[in-house]
Symmetry: C2
DNA sequence: CTGAAAGCGCTAACAG
DNA sequence: CTGTTAGCGCTTTCAG
């Protein structure tokens, strides 16, 4: 890596002349500019990013904190974040909280030492369960903006990107009701999460609106994802007249579908299944699972746009919450 | 964010005194150290990372380039990389090449401006198909170390982390042969990749070793992952006496299993299926898929260890290739 | 048109 | 024990 100083020496001009020439300043003669640029090209000069960051007091880097990268939803949001950031000339530093409050806290503090210009994050499960928010406010007080997506904290004053989780779950349940399903199982692995609560509310709302309460919603809460298959099978044995399943997370819809097949439910004739997800699960199921599709990459892209706007305008009041569209894809597991 | 200078002013001492006190230098009196540390604590002083990077000429940051984050294998490697890096006090800047040579090139050049101390990467499909390696050597010439994993370029002199792909595929095929399978389909979606070539070789080796060539291996090459289901089904119609399937990538084993069930193959009685993967696919299949398990997080961790060793010893000769163990998990789709 | 100098935040050699 | 100074690589104001 060659520096301005070294270029200056080779050219017998001053450092500042080289700097100005490279930036095409009108203070410098055409001839000098050309000479400088040629040599710079030859030595493949690139301004040192760290020095620029120090000088400009901005790193053009975004800190991203993901609760669980093995969840396809978050992987796809990250995909969206990276793509949009690159387009806007920003890099991303990625930290994984692995659902731990302490790891989330560490990551936030670590990167708040001047490493990043702002954060994009989804809150760790432990943090939401224990309702911790002080660490967010400390960062915000340092004038480092945060954009939260998916799992957000309403009490924290920052930008947010979400889908209308209540409405999505409501519509999905409504679909089952309209198909004439009477005994619907709600598989809930997201009990402690903000999104989970909204989705459950949406499901119950749809059921409560049915005439003379003829429809039943049986909620299966699963706290440990590893138990999910066992728990679902238990329910299928207990309620052998199930005719609908709605899963509000990324995985359990697929598991429920497989279990239902194993128990010889005819799908979708006798039993409908609908899950949350984006499209990748399609590779894994027959028949193809009907889903609420979240457009996770759009969520990531929107978060980047909000954050960069905030960084570049330095406008720290008036927070925005952007709602990204979802879509309902009825495929082969609904009527 | 408070700076040394500001602390110094408040304390009426010089900047260097504050710096030394904070670092517990023996040059400074106990009393001053205490005074300084208390104030620093109070104002939550943290040394500016960018300034440190500039001074020390090292960023404590690793550039990670991933071809496809939506592939669970890479997500899990990233998980391993992040975890190990954090443990070692490094951050990671993540770029996604999305299998594109240009994006890979851009990411490499972008971060080689002093943003990172080294790279961990797996090569983009396009790069491997077109056999491009110059861009790696340019980075290496700048004395920035690279560790490649999974998809590696043998011609490039750098550290590498792989599994014994040949052997893994060989053993998996051998398993089917030993079960008495005679007509085995090899599903190959990795035709252009270094790992794919090794695995295919391993499969054929196992077949060629059988007595009087009684076993047949039918290779199905699929270049576009979206066609995979269609192509597999086509083969199942064409060869209705298939009795074994080996898939050398992460996804197609599951797809093949689902298709086989749809075509009423009795599994594993009439047909065995074995795939590459790590454990997540288990959530998605009944019966549970037998797999070659790659321990992807170990691959990531090993890569970090190699890279940091290289960074901190500044020893640029003698490259290492580490082979990470795999395991064969025979579950419910093999005898 | 070109150069000297200051400063971003920090460390460390050297002077006092 | 404390302070001054130079320097990491760069931009930018100001002087020439």
């Amino acid at each position: 890596m060659i520096t301005l100083k070294e270029l200056a020496e080779k050219l017998n001009v001053s450092i500042s002349t080289v700097s100005k020439a490279l930036n095409g300043s009108s203070e410098i003669s055409e001839k000098t500019i050309k000479r400088v640029k040629e040599l710079a090209e030859m030595y493949n000069y690139k301004p040192n990013k760290v020095a620029l960051s120090l000088k400009n007091n901005q790193t053009k880097t975004i800190g991203v904190i993901i609760p669980n990268i093995l969840n396809h939803f978050f992987a796809k949001v990250l995909y969206g974040i990276e793509k949009e950031s690159a387009k806007m000339g920003y890099s991303i530093i990625t930290c994984l909280s692995n659902e731990s409050y302490n790891k989330e806290l560490d990551s936030l503090q670590l990167l708040a030492d001047g490493s990043v210009d702002g954060f994009i994050m989804s809150i760790a499960e432990e943090t939401q369960r224990e309702k911790k928010t002080d660490h967010f406010n400390r960062i915000l007080n340092q004038k480092i903006p945060i954009v939260m997506f998916d799992r957000v904290a309403d009490e924290v004053e920052c930008d947010k990107v979400v889908i209308d989780d209540f409405d999505a779950a409501y519509k999905a349940t409504k679909q089952l009701v309209n198909e004439g399903r009477k005994r619907i199982m709600l598989v809930n692995c997201l009990e402690d999460l903000s999104v989970g609560k909204l989705r459950v509310k949406g499901c119950f709302q749809a059921i409560n609106e049915t005439e003379n309460f003829s429809n039943e919603l049986i909620e299966l809460k699963v706290s440990n994802i590893d138990d999910i298959e066992k728990e679902i099978e238990k329910m299928m044995k207990k309620y052998n007249d199930l005719d609908g399943i709605i899963s509000i997370d990324n995985i359990s819809g697929v598991v429920a579908l497989n279990s239902a097949k194993k128990h010889n439910f005819s799908i979708p004739k006798a039993l409908s299944v609908i899950g949350f997800s984006d499209d990748n699960v399609l590779h894994y199921t027959t028949p193809k699972l009907s889903t609420i599709t979240q457009h996770s990459d759009d969520i990531g892209a929107k978060a980047v746009q909000l954050l960069i706007k905030r960084i570049e305008t330095k406008e720290y009041l008036k927070n925005e919450t952007k709602t990204v569209n979802y879509s309902i894809n009825l495929r082969e597991t609904t009527l």
